[in-house]
């Protein structure tokens, strides 16, 4: 399809870290 399962897992972990930083830095709340 696109990337391998291992690359996909690594990409997901990177994205969790990136968005986590954005959310914490900007203090975004949704609940």
């Amino acid at each position: 399809m696109g990337t391998t399962p291992d690359e996909t897992a690594a990409f997901l972990k990177t994205e969790i870290a990136k968005w986590g930083k954005v959310i914490r830095d900007a203090d975004v709340k949704v609940e």
Binding site: M1, P5, A10, L12, I16, K18, D25, V30
Partner: protein, 281 residues
């Protein structure tokens, strides 16, 4: 923020490794025998958003050829709600036999931080299959919005704190978080108006109920070309094919500002690796 080029380089490395693995066919034999029985029925692809949006479009674009390649059919099931949590939870708890998959987008990775009490673990409860698309976002405004450039937009936002309504395709969507990122970086204040997807957002952006929004380039460009809304910039690290006349946010003066969404296919955790590999290949 999004290292797309690095990602593509990694993919090339992955393909090289794939070639190396091919010299050990004996090690894969039991797996190959198991995988022969798959798929034994149609595959269900859960789409955790409404039809017609980015996720739905990408799920179908990938799922239909995949089903043909596996000699089966794919049933697309739209299960929108709670920033993709409803649909993802269904798949996290489904039988891990390769007959249930989900297409998630950047929101899935954000949910890990946004929702401390998620009913699943965004990593541990899934077997990742493949990243299926990468898309930068585009900053679009109502035709009457008093800014023609990113610089003018930010100057207007600074002069009118809290007065600009920005829309997004949902609370916690990449489009929402990208504007929060921009607000934080530039010290501006704008009011968030979440929508249930891109279609209702677009209606209100054209109508002027909201002044500005980020969304996927591919979804917005037809309306920009049609004169319904205006585009100020994209969030890619360089100009985007199909929108070469548009500057990037970085060119617009926001140093280092990049963002984007993506789509990814996941299977439930515990799906046999040989099945995941067949899907990924």
């Amino acid at each position: 923020m999004f290292a797309i080029s690095m990602m593509l380089r990694r993919h090339a490395v992955g393909q090289a490794l794939g070639v190396l693995c091919a010299v050990l066919p004996g090690a894969l034999l039991p797996a190959a025998v198991l995988a022969q029985a798959y798929p034994s029925k149609p595959i269900r692809m859960v789409v955790p958003y409404t039809p017609g949006g980015y996720t739905d479009t990408m799920a179908r674009a990938v799922g239909e050829p995949l089903a043909r390649a596996l000699n089966t059919t794919m049933i697309f099931e739209n299960r929108p709600g709670a920033n993709s949590i409803v649909g993802a939870e269904m798949v996290a708890k489904a039988a891990p036999d390769g007959h249930t998959l989900v297409t998630v987008i950047a929101a899935h990775s954000a949910n890990a931080t946004l929702y401390p009490k998620l009913p699943f673990d965004v990593v541990k409860d899934f077997s990742p299959v493949a990243v299926t698309s990468l898309s930068p976002l585009i900053l679009v405004v109502n035709n009457d919005f008093p800014a023609k450039t990113v610089g003018e937009f930010l100057a207007y936002a600074k002069a009118n704190p809290g007065k600009i309504n920005f829309g997004s395709s949902g609370n916690g969507a990449a489009a929402h978080l990208t504007m929060e990122y921009l607000k934080n970086l530039t010290g501006t204040k704008m009011q968030h108006i979440p929508y249930k997807g891109t279609a209702p957002l677009l209606t209100d952006l054209i109508g002027g109920q909201i002044g500005v929004a980020f969304d996927a380039v591919s979804l917005m460009m037809p309306h920009v070309r049609g004169g319904k809304i205006r585009a100020l910039a994209t969030t890619a690290d360089k100009r985007v094919a199909g929108a070469l006349d548009l500057p990037t946010m970085i060119e617009g003066g926001v140093a280092g500002f990049t963002s984007g969404t993506w789509s990814m296919v996941l299977a439930p955790a515990g799906t046999p690796p040989e099945i995941v590999k067949r899907l990924s290949d």
